[in-house]
Symmetry: C2
Subunit: 125 residues, 2 copies
DNA sequence: TCATTAGATTGACGTTCGTCGATGTGATGA
DNA sequence: TCATCACATCGACGAACGTCAATCTAATGA
């Protein structure tokens, strides 16, 4: 699934703040076409989610779990930040569509959305 | 050339602010290993360069030129921003290693550094 | 030499971001 | 019912960011 297809999924529109701003958040690689303003805003938003070292480490921790879920309870230790700060960063990753969350009992579990990472990769290609 | 090799080039160390912070700015894909703190800081810096819509459009404009150089004199019109603002953004793209610059006479010419874009792509893979 | 030009730098501004203590929310189990 | 736990939200703070007018720098050509 490329970025174009990905953006068509209406559930993304309904569940994530970033992309609900514009349902047509799709673009070809930066080396193929010049981005229009709307595409640029949406893409910048996605890359901004990756533009913080704490978020990159949190994402990398989840992405390296081999498809397994990761408990939010482990993430304060991984990041070295307070619980509210981790929660803040996870929300940004979630809003960017890079991770999914599921609450089971008291714990929240996160897993990667690989297609979203692939989508961003394809934009750079 | 992957991200690892790329970072070894000493001329990058000498000419670009971002990477001079740490000569060992190399990392495997986020799905393979958990990033250490140094890698995360350097990568976050690279993605931050892509985290602004004006910079994305400037970069896309240069990247879409098919290997040709682009004159700085055209970029205020492309971006719809003032000359100092464009200069500021180009410096950030340059410091991130995404573009090269060359001054000839009064004009400055920019071209893409494709390997740098490839390097970031490989981190997402 | 000097006026002109392209682009970089400076300084100031309002805005956004990362951070954490305090507090809110909702599930758990006794 | 109520204390406890995991996580989210709020509010406040300083730092970093995007922006542009004013100015500086260096190349040009007369």
């Amino acid at each position: 699934m490329d970025f174009f297809d990905h953006c068509r999924y209406s559930w993304l529109m309904a569940s994530r703040k970033t992309l609900t701003l514009d349902p047509i958040a799709c673009c070809s690689p930066v080396r193929t076409d010049v981005l229009d303003e709307t595409q640029a805003v949406l893409l910048a938003n996605s890359f901004a989610a990756l533009a913080d070292p704490i978020r990159l480490r949190l994402l990398s921790h989840i992405a390296s779990a081999g498809g397994e879920e990761v408990c939010a309870c482990d993430l304060t230790e991984v990041s070295g930040r307070s619980q509210p700060t981790v929660s803040h960063h996870m929300k940004i990753l979630f809003d960017a569509g890079l991770i999914e969350r599921e609450k089971r009992g008291l714990w929240v579990w996160y897993r990667l959305v690989p297609s979203r990472l692939d989508a961003l990769r394809s934009v750079l290609g």
